[in-house]
């Protein structure tokens, strides 16, 4: 009892082949779309490479690119199969390939699903990576003379201005780090000496932030220094001032940005999965219908198309038996080696006996 059996007349087979050909070209475009999506995501992640500590999140765009390329190849093969499907002389050579093709198509759908799941699951790892990366960036902000770190200042400044954020969690992160290099500190000044002595590590800490934290939307010229001291500036209250600097932390800003990117690709990826599944099912119907037609005496007649020849349980039992057979064939049984020749003789006798008809009574 076949699964989801459908009758196909010659015309319906032709229609199915044509429709599937169009659908598989659509699937090729979708594969290209997925590939481009992967490339775009990878470029965006690489642009902010310097503030990310590890590259675990890169598995999402890498998978997308791989699946995109594989999908283009697989669906192109599907379109070739469609072209040959109505020609009885050319179709048989694709039969062997089709089983492998189904496996590849199912694998691609699973991988795409995995991508969607991963893009949500890896959010925590992304945040961790950004946290460490930004912390290092802020720590090395002042080291513009150290090779390997000299671009951290520019990177952090650009990041803060582009994403309208300040510091790791918020602007107070800048109070805990010395972001003014010793090259620009006058060590003869009393103020500098006091500040350096005021903490254990001998760092020049101040309650100020770099200029890139300044919010252009503030009605007031930017206040960068002595932020916690309400008396240092006229008409200024530290606790209630919220427009002066960017209030968001850069980790939050970057995470939101990347999550937004990946979420917006979610619906696209899901629709590509649906298209791929429909190509898969239509291909199965086409294959079984055409094979059924080729087995008929009149190839123009009606044939049946199905997804599975027997129902799910029977197919599963069949597959299991085949697999066990394969395993048994691979196994070498020492007992059966000795018994082998004897059994062979016995079998011969049995066939001889069967061949000679019993004497008619």
């Amino acid at each position: 009892m076949a699964l989801l059996k459908m009758k196909f007349s010659q015309q319906r087979r032709v229609r199915l082949a044509q429709g599937l050909w169009l659908l598989s070209w659509l699937a090729v475009m979708c594969g290209a779309f997925i590939f481009c999506l992967g490339v775009y995501l990878k470029i965006e992640l690489l642009r902010r490479d310097e503030v990310m500590e590890n590259t675990e999140i890169h598995v999402v765009p890498n998978l997308l690119m791989m699946v995109g390329l594989a999908s283009i190849g697989a669906n192109w093969v599907a379109s070739r199969v469609c072209q040959d499907s109505l020609d009885a002389s050319r179709f048989p050579r694709w039969r062997v390939l089709l089983l492998g093709w189904y496996a590849v198509a199912v694998l691609l759908c699973c991988l795409l699903l995995a991508v969607v799941v991963l893009s949500y699951a890896l959010q925590g790892r992304l945040e961790e990576s950004l946290k460490v990366g930004l912390r290092n960036g802020i720590r090395f902000y002042k080291d513009t003379d150290v090779p390997g770190r000299c671009f951290q200042k520019e990177t952090i400044d650009r990041l803060q201005m582009e994403f309208r954020c300040c510091g790791n969690n918020n602007f107070k992160d800048w109070f805990e780090v010395q972001w003014v290099s010793n090259r620009y500190l006058d060590f003869t000044s009393q103020e500098v000496k006091d500040r350096i002595r005021s903490n254990v590590d001998g760092r020049y800490l101040l309650d100020g932030v770099p200029f890139s934290c300044c919010n252009p939307a503030s009605p007031r010229p930017c206040l960068q220094n002595q932020l916690t001291d309400s008396r240092a500036h006229y008409n200024y209250e530290y606790q209630s001032e919220e427009l002066n600097l960017y209030s968001r932390g850069c980790r939050q800003a970057l995470t939101d940005y990347y999550m937004g990117l990946m979420n917006s690709t979610g619906p696209g990826v899901l629709s590509v999965i649906l298209i791929q599944l429909s190509v898969l099912l239509s291909m199965r119907y086409l294959q079984t219908a055409v094979e059924g037609a080729m087995a008929l005496e009149s190839p123009e007649g009606e044939s049946e198309g199905y997804i599975l020849e027997k129902d799910v349980k029977a197919t599963y039992a069949d597959v299991k038996a085949k697999a066990l057979d394969l395993l048994k064939f691979a196994q070498v049984d020492p007992a059966s080696e000795a018994a082998g020749p004897e059994e062979g003789e016995k079998a011969d006798e049995a066939t001889e006996k069967a061949a000679t008809p019993p004497p008619a009574s």
Binding site: M161, W179, D186, C214, A217, P219, R220, P221, H233, Y234
Partner: protein, 362 residues
Amino acid sequence: MAVLKVKFTKTRRDKLAQILWILNWISVVTGIILFSLGLFLKVELKKREELMAEKDIQYVPNMLIAVGLIACAINFLGGKICYDCVDSTKFLRWKLIMLPYIVCTFFFTLCVLVGALMCYSMHWELEEALDLGLMQAMRFYKDTDMPGRCFLKHTVDTLQIQFQCCGNSGYKDWFQIQWISNRYLDMSKKEVVDRLRSNVEGKYLMDGVPFSCCNINSPRPCIQQQITNNSAHFNYEHQTEDQNLWMKGCRQALLEYYTHIMQSIGLTVLITWLFELSVLTGVRYLQTSLENVLRQGDPDSESDGWLLENSLMETARIIKSLGKSNQINTANNGDPNIDVPSTSKAHYGPDNVPPKEKMETS
């Protein structure tokens, strides 16, 4: 004596018509491109209109938009005409329209050329507009509490950050205006009062710049205040320091940006003009050769095609005389019914000749 006469066989005429049909459709596409370029320029100018003084520079993108639309329409018609020209019976439909069409297209191509030249000439007007506009914007930088001007601070800050520039000609422009509002100045402090008294107009002037002037590439945290005072900052020399702030003036930065756009657009328009001119020439040849075929009577025969039937001088004279014959005689105020005595020397006999007696014949 025709100008640039070329012989056309039937097949050559047909080929010419087909090629012109395709070229006309390509011209429609270039018309659309012109239209979108004009639209793009209009949007770019509108985006920064707060920084430009009231100068009429919108005429350039408006002209481009109009030219683009008219080019589409003209070339669409031209394509239709050329498509029908393959068949000489269908050509009869268009025969009367073709000459006016060619003349109109010729004047239109002149408009396209003018449009291209305007793109290059806009430079000076734009510079003036930007100069005045930026000066105003910087003056009203501090007026974030005045309706109508409250966004100028944000505009100027984002401009300086995006275009990596500072001030009008340079950062020193900020020293000459008060960019900190009085709302944030503590009038009870001596330093503030001193500064206010130090100039005639009572403005709080300082040798400092807003944060948006800070250069990202500087190895040192930005120095915004007391820029001219070397002793105020450690290891700092005002004259040699060029990485601390953006050195370019915003007027120059914006001008460069717009000039770059204008030059690309101008080049595209010039190329379109050349293309249109060549299509026009082809259509003219097609028209004259088809008219000659009709005159000869045999649709399959060879015919001549030319740009002008007579030489340039002759054509100019013909046009002049056409103009004269259309001229109305102003002596009698244009009314032909008034009897004007003849002023010529020839004597044509008396005016009032009585009719001959009919009784002679009866």
